[in-house]
């Protein structure tokens, strides 16, 4: 069996069913705080560009994921909160759960697996939910991460794309680092497109849009969130060192940008570049630039021609302009710091070394 045939054989094992339409969308705590434009434009792309039905329910809550993985929230509690999310989905008349957050996605999969293996636990959780809220629930028929959906419709997005992941000056494909959130498929490889060892969910999108992904030694290393390790100042160095290791490993390959599917990973790969520039005097782009770090929604939206500031790219600490210029995107730099009311807000302070625009 040739190397390619072996690859194709493995690939067949890691396809997954992604519902065609009618999604109940659960938002991400981290994405709403740090990259709210990514979720906002995702909703627009799904409902307007792809013409799908997606419902937004104000009454869903956090899944408690960060609380669960910091060992604060008991497993029974997390299971019952998730059962409530399912009950809300049932109440809205939907069967397909579309998840924005990778931590949540991993947790939903973990809990569904436990319930399947131990139905008595699911029954107990049902009792807790009913006692607490009077609600009952049924599990989703289809559970997908939002990046799965963009992957599924990548050809449609590509067909409508105004811009491609091509360097406008050289005509060469942009060089892209794809970073997959650990909880997307490391826990349940069969639930992620391409599994844990050869995830395709982002690289497939990048290739379809004209870019080229980079294979570098620490490609699959965690971003370093570590839950409690980042949140506590005493162990935050763990988080920074993981990201630093990744940047040193990808640096020689000169990536044009990084694409992520996890809200937390995007935050760390964006923000730690600022810290590394400040602490070590190192930047990884050209001439003081960082490596722009974008979510998959932001990348797809840029290609579709959405305005960079309408999708929230001004909220990144590592400037995205180097990528916009390379792709030849038309945008107005003066609109970057406009607020909702349309007025120009006072500009943020400029980091000492990391280049700002």
């Amino acid at each position: 069996m040739s190397k390619t045939e072996r690859g194709q054989f493995i690939w067949k094992d890691f396809q997954k069913e992604i519902a065609d339409d009618h999604y109940y969308y659960v938002r991400s705590c981290i994405r709403q705080n740090f990259f709210p434009g990514a979720e906002d434009v995702f909703i627009k792309m799904v409902t307007k560009d792809l013409n799908k039905d997606l419902v937004l329910d104000p009454a869903h809550t956090t899944c408690t994921g960060i609380g669960y993985h910091t060992d604060l929230v008991k497993m029974e509690t997390t299971m019952t909160v998730i059962a409530r999310q399912f009950a809300m989905m049932n109440q809205a008349g939907y069967k397909n759960l579309l998840v924005s957050c990778v931590t949540s996605f991993g947790l939903y999969n973990e809990i569904l697996e436990i319930w399947e293996e131990y139905p008595e636990i699911k029954e107990k959780v049902g009792e807790y939910l009913h006692k607490a809220t009077g609600r009952t629930f049924k599990v989703p028929e289809n559970l997908v991460h939002a990046s799965d959906l963009i992957y599924k419709y990548k050809d449609e997005i590509s067909a409508r794309a105004k811009y491609r992941l091509i360097n406008r000056e050289t005509g060469e494909p942009l060089r892209v680092v794809d970073h997959i959130g650990c909880h997307y498929s490391k826990m349940f490889p069969e639930k992620g497109i391409g599994g844990a060892e050869r995830p395709r969910v982002l690289s497939g999108l990048v290739n379809t849009l004209g870019g080229k992904t980079i294979d570098y030694p620490e490609r699959r290393l965690c971003c370093g969130f570590g839950f409690r390790q980042y949140l506590l100042k005493s162990s935050r160095g763990y988080s920074l060192s993981c990201t630093y290791k990744k940047f040193k490993s990808m640096e020689p390959y000169k990536p044009d940008f990084i694409i992520t599917n996890c809200p937390g990973c995007n935050y760390f790969l964006d923000r730690w570049q600022y810290v590394i520039s400040d602490l070590r005097g190192e930047t990884y782009g050209h001439n003081g630039d960082g490596i722009p770090t974008l979510t998959y929604e932001e990348v797809a939206a840029l290609c579709l021609g959405y305005d960079p500031w309408d999708i929230g790219l001004q909220m990144h600490q590592t400037a995205v302009e180097p990528l916009l210029y390379k792709m030849g995107i038309e945008f107005n730099p003066a609109d970057k710091y406009k607020g909702y009311s349309g007025k120009n807000l006072e500009k943020p302070k400029i980091p000492e070394l990391l280049k700002a625009y």
Partner: protein, 235 residues
């Protein structure tokens, strides 16, 4: 008296996470925490396999179980389908339930996490909320975060126009009824009681160490526990 190990076996994550470890060390090779600290998931799994209460008690009261970053990379690579990261969850849970977490400086940091994450969940329905995050506590958020915080209404309302108000956009105000249901779930399933325990244990520890403590988030005990572990400072 119930064996300590029997209590660990009641946790489904222990049952799910440990099949038969062959001690190959693959988990330690892939573990980001093992490359940063004196931490070895292989050793912990090995210790658990012998089902010894004395060893377990030492683990529950020690620092080691708090090093894992929960990335779960170990699950992917283990050739025997073990999940050391899940075993860690079961150990941390039992450490808190037995009170042994108070014997370790990293265990005692659960109080800090409760103040930052636990209270935010109950107050807002989100694990984190921009209004409670600043660059004093998290300086790596950078000048862009100061800009976002200073102009939060103007910035967030660009994305759904419901910042801290009814609607479906980014950082909408989650309805009171949903928050009430969340509280009731936390009470019925025992997490509210856990939160109270973390507060009470922290108050006692503060008194013992003669550190100022009150119900505000940035009390002296909080700041000291947030910033230092016993490995960083002399107690």
């Amino acid at each position: 008296m119930e064996k300590l190990f029997d209590r660990l076996k009641e946790d489904i994550r222990f049952v799910h996470g440990l099949n038969s470890c062959i001690n190959c060390g693959t988990c330690s090779a892939i573990c980001p925490a093992a490359s940063f600290w004196e931490y070895d998931p292989r050793e912990i799994v090995d210790q658990l396999q012998v089902e010894d209460d004395d060893i377990l008690e030492e683990l529950l009261g020690g620092e080691k179980i708090w090093y894992c970053g929960q990335c779960m990379s170990c699950k992917t690579r283990c050739p025997r389908d073990n999940t050391p990261g899940m075993l860690i969850q079961a150990l941390r849970n039992l450490s808190i339930e037995t009170g042994l977490y108070m014997n370790s400086s990293r265990g005692r940091q659960q109080y800090v996490l409760k103040k930052m994450i636990g209270d935010t969940i109950l107050a807002t329905g989100y694990c984190v909320h921009a209004d409670g995050l600043d660059t004093t506590m998290f300086p790596e958020q950078g000048p862009i975060w100061d800009w976002i915080r200073k102009n939060s209404k103007e910035v967030y309302n660009r994305f759904g126009n419901s910042y801290n108000s009814p609607g479906t956009g980014a950082l909408r105000k989650i309805p009171d009824e949903a928050i009430r249901e969340l509280h009731e779930i936390f009470r019925i399933t025992g997490t509210l009681q856990r939160f109270n325990r973390l507060e009470n244990d922290a108050a006692r520890q503060a008194k013992k160490t003669d550190t100022e403590f009150d119900s505000s988030i940035l009390n002296d005990y909080f700041l000291k526990t947030y910033t230092n572990t016993s490995e960083d400072v002399e107690d």
